[in-house]
Structure formats: C-alpha cells, structure tokens
Amino acid sequence: MSILPPDMDESAFAAFLNDLRGAVGEDWVWSSDTDMFPYRDAFSPVWNTPEEIQASSAVAPADVAQVQEVVRIAKRHRVPLHPISTGKNFGYGGASPNVQGSAVLDLKRMDRVIEVNEERNYCLVEPGVSYFDLYRHIQERGLKVMIDCPDPGWGSPVGNALDRGVGYTMPQFRDHFGAHCGMEVVLPDGELMRTGMGAMPGADSWQEYPYGFGPDPSGLFAQGNFGVVTKMGFRLMPQPEYYRTGLVRVPRRRDLIKLVHHVNYLSDSGMVSEVRFASPLSALLGDPDFAALATKLGGPSDAEMDAAASAAGLHSWAIDLQFLGPEAATAAQWEYARDRILSDIPGAEALDGDHFALPATEAQLENDTQPYPTAIRRKGALGIPSLGIWEIVRDDGHVGFFPVLPRDGEAVFEMQRVLGDASREYPLPPYFSAVTAPLFWHSNTFQMVFAPSIRRDDPEHNAMVHRAMKHMVAVAAEHGWGDYRAAPIYQDDVAATYSFNGGALRKFLEAMKDAVDPDGIIAPGRGGVWPARFRP
C-alpha cells in the first residue's frame, strides 16, 4: 500500500516522482514499500499504529544544484520535503518526517569534507559527512585538530548540530550548534544563501566569524524548517598535547550544592573538559531496601540518605574531572581543582586518575589504566568516533526525553523528586531517584535522562512508553524544565511547553514560516513550527 503526499492523487504523485528522476537520475528516487522501509523510525513507540508518520518517497541529490532543483520541484508540486543528513537521529525520529507522505530529502550522497584547516582550527563539511568520515579525513592527513563527536560516530556533524546535539570535550566544542561557524542554505524557493561572512563575496573568514553584519538567521535552521543546510562550518580544538583525569568524592548528600558551584567555576573558566557527575550510592540500587528509599514518594530525607551512605561506607557524590592541554597545565589545573574543592567541603577526597600524552595509544584508548571505576567513555572524551555505545541500546531501541535544568544542586534534588514521583506509575527502570546525577552535556546547563526502550512487536509496552513520554514532558514543564530535542511525534508536545505570553515565540516563528515558505514545503511541523497550510 503506497503512501501519498498530502492533497495528492496517484497520477500527480507519479508526475512528481518523474520530475525528481529528471533532476537527480533514476537511481536516486525511491517510493516502493521495500525501499521506503528503512526511512521509518526504527525506534518508534508508535510503530505500526495510526500515529506512526511515514514518508511517501525519498530523493538523494548529489550536489547543491540538485538540492535547489528538488526544492523547486517540491514547491511546484506542493509536496513537503523532510531533509535528513546521514539519517541516524535515532531516539529522535530517525529519518521519519512530521507529515505523513512527505518526501525525504536524503543528503547522504553529499559527503565531501570541503576543508579542514589546522592553522585556523575549523572545518567545512557537507551534510552527508559522518563523524567517522571527518575523523578519518583528519587522521589520513595527519592534521593536528580534534573533533568533538556524540556517542555514535555514524551521525552527521551537520545533522547533529542542527538538532543541537552534544559531545564530550571542552565546553566551547561539545555544544555542536554553538560550535558551528557559517552555513550555506537552500531556501524554500530554491535560492541559495550563505550566513555570516559567507554572505560577503571574497571573504576568507566564513568559518571564523559567524555573524557577518545584521541579523544572523542561522538559529532558524536548527530544529527548524526554513531551509536545507548544504554546508556547515565548525570550530575545532587544536590537538591537545596531554590528557589527565581525576576523581573527587564528597560524603554527604547536600555536598552536591557546593560541588556544583565548584564545577560551574571550573567549567566556565575553561579549566575542565566535560565533567561526569555520579553517585557511588547507585551501586546499592540492587538492594530492595535501598531502592525503596531512593525512590520513595516525595523523596528521602538528607539524613536518611546520609545514613545509608555511612552504613555502606560510600560517598554520596563523585565527579570525574578531565583536563586537556599542555602536560604542565593539566597538572596545575587538576591540582587547583582538587585543592579548591577539598578546602571547601569537609570530608571530600581526591584520587589521581590517568594521564598521558596525546594522541593516545591503543591501550590507553581501551581505558583499562584508569585507577578507579569511571563513567567516562574514553573515545568520546578524546573526540574519537565509535559505535561502542550501542551496547546500551536495549530491546529494539528507545525514545529520549532530556529535560534541561539549572546548574544548581537544589534543582537537581527537585527534579529527582518531582520526576521520580511522576514516573512511579510506569513499569520502567527508575530513571529518576535520589541518586540520579545530572548530565553536563550542554556547556552551561544540566539535563537528566528519561529513555525507555521500545519493542516493535509489543504494542502494549510501546503505548505505555508513549503515555509516559507525554506525561513526563507535561510534568516537567509545570516546573520550568523543557526538553531540548524531540522526535517528530513529540515535537508539538514539547513546543507547546515553551508558551510564554500566549506562545509568542511560536506565533513569531510561524509568521516567518508563512512568509518564507508559503507552500509549507520544508519540513512542516519540525520544531513545532507549522505553516498555515498544515496548521490545525
């Protein structure tokens, strides 16, 4: 049973596909059920239900001129396009669109690493380039720059940044959209635009000064639908000379308050790479009595948690610190961080970790020389793409809700309690408990994770997960905690929570959408931004 684009019959669809084939060639347009199966969301909780949104067709242009032509054809036929880069946005919708019957604009064939500059520390890439590709390009040429990559290396720097993905190195690089510098975009009428210094003919600073002059529209293309990004620049860290780790542990539950303040200072001063928070008490969750305490309705008291820690001989919290830079600088930074925290928090203790010159040896990459258990994934910490993280994927995949919360210990305690209570009614692992630590992925904020698995052959389980996701988004919003990224099936729910002053932000974006893309061609609904044609 073929899926048709909205407001289109079989013969009009055939004419659309024929025009696409004329633009990109017979081999690069697909519409059969067999060919379209891989464009479904492999991690969908609404798999095989009426809520699942599927594309009608896919087209893979080879270059920018073909992208422009595809956009013009889509506009002429009024068919929504859903652009993807490498199509690996698992947990956030994969390659699936927001509107049933959309044509996927598959940019995988545009896979050129256009430039890596090791003197000025940037790269310029096309959307089909993966982190694996970019890393290989750099290694094969012996270039002295380090990339920042998310967990699975098959994703696209362009696609990941446009969905505001994150990595695991220094703050100015691990916010991938924040680290971008310069874009080229095909607009909804097929026109080609460059942002920042790229707008100035002859400028050689496109990847060095992102703003150019006047308003900078680059934010409209992240989680947005105002154009198709065909090139994107990124700032890169010069290959650091040395890597060092250290662990700090604090005894009491409320020590987290001061610990967070110290981490904020160290991070915002540019002294540390990503910091991993953890609670050593997590090791006790297998004990039913402790698990009941940590997930107690309304949350346990500080005294109860401190007593449990004391009885087990464990610390309440720990931070894994990482340092990148010259050897002497990393040693001084670790010494400073250790002294700063230990002199302020009674009972805190520090452990020296691993340290070695970069690039790391194979043995160092295997991460078996760390003198204590660590949550740090060594390859990610050093900007080396991998698929090793896939070992955490359970069942047939998962969805993800990652609420943003302030970098404040009290806020951590509140989210543990509120979302812990809210999630108790679902038969899922305890994503929120009194030992849940914050994630410090984005450079200036914390997040927590709710990522229940899905099972393609278990609709009841999936329906429960789907209900839980919507419930958690709603409860979190009541406390001012919003999701940072969502699959198409949740984007309206999440966008609705950003509702200040009657949803002024969404109204502004939709007014612009109507002006720039009156036919609603580019990814209608993405980011919760709907063109008039599809607005309810």
Binding site: N367, E391, R394
Partner: protein, 120 residues
C-alpha cells in the same frame, strides 16, 4: 643481519602488494564498505572501555551461544540476499540502512568480502 632483516621486510611488503593487486575489485570494495559501515559494530575487535566485544558482535554471540561465529568476518554462510534482509529490515537494536548509504552493489560486495575473510 641488517641486510637479511631488510630483505625479509622487503619480501613481506612485496607479497602484501601482490596480494592487494590481485584482490578481486568487488572483494576490495566489500572490504572497504565492511570496514566503514559494518566493522564499528560487527568487527572482531574489543568494544569500548573494556567491553570484550563490539555491540553487534556481542549481540550475535549471545544469540548464537557458540553455534555460529559471532564476528561476521568469520561467517561463510552470509549471502547477499541474507545480508540484504538484515541491512534493509534491521534486527533488534540494529536499525535499517537505506539504499542511499548502502547500495545493493555495496551489499553484494560485502557478501563477496565475507566469503574471503571467513576463509582467512
């Protein structure tokens, strides 16, 4: 001794070069595609951070429990149609691969490569 050592090295380099030159082009292509697209999850090596196996290899080790090799490069029973089924339809946590990223010709080349790798 130095001369002998150099001769051995030269001989090894020449035999590698001859092997590379004589490799069937489809097998060579399959090797490259496998290394880039499959090996990060299904390779023979260890996983990250002290995991004994990569995730795909570990999943197959659990599934087959010794009845079949866990690493795909040790399998001689994977024809192009079988690989196509798993690549295009996925399996468990393994998602689907589109023709834009892995063509039918790429899959046939992977099958040809696995025939040679499993014989090594």
């Amino acid at each position: 001794m130095k001369v002998l050592f150099a001769s051995v090295l030269l001989g090894a380099a020449l035999s590698l070069s001859v092997a590379a030159q004589s490799e069937d082009p489809q097998v060579a292509h399959g090797r490259q595609v496998f290394e880039r697209q499959c090996a990060p999850c299904h390779g023979r090596g260890p996983g990250d951070d002290r995991s004994p196996m990569l995730p795909g290899t570990a999943a197959l080790a659990e599934k087959y429990d010794g009845a079949r090799p866990a690493a795909l490069e040790d399998r001689s029973d994977l024809s192009a149609p079988v690989i196509t089924l798993f690549v295009r339809r996925g399996s468990g946590a393994m998602p689907f691969f589109r023709a834009s990223e892995l063509s039918d010709a790429d899959i046939a080349a992977i099958a040809a490569y696995l025939q040679t790798s499993s014989a090594d």
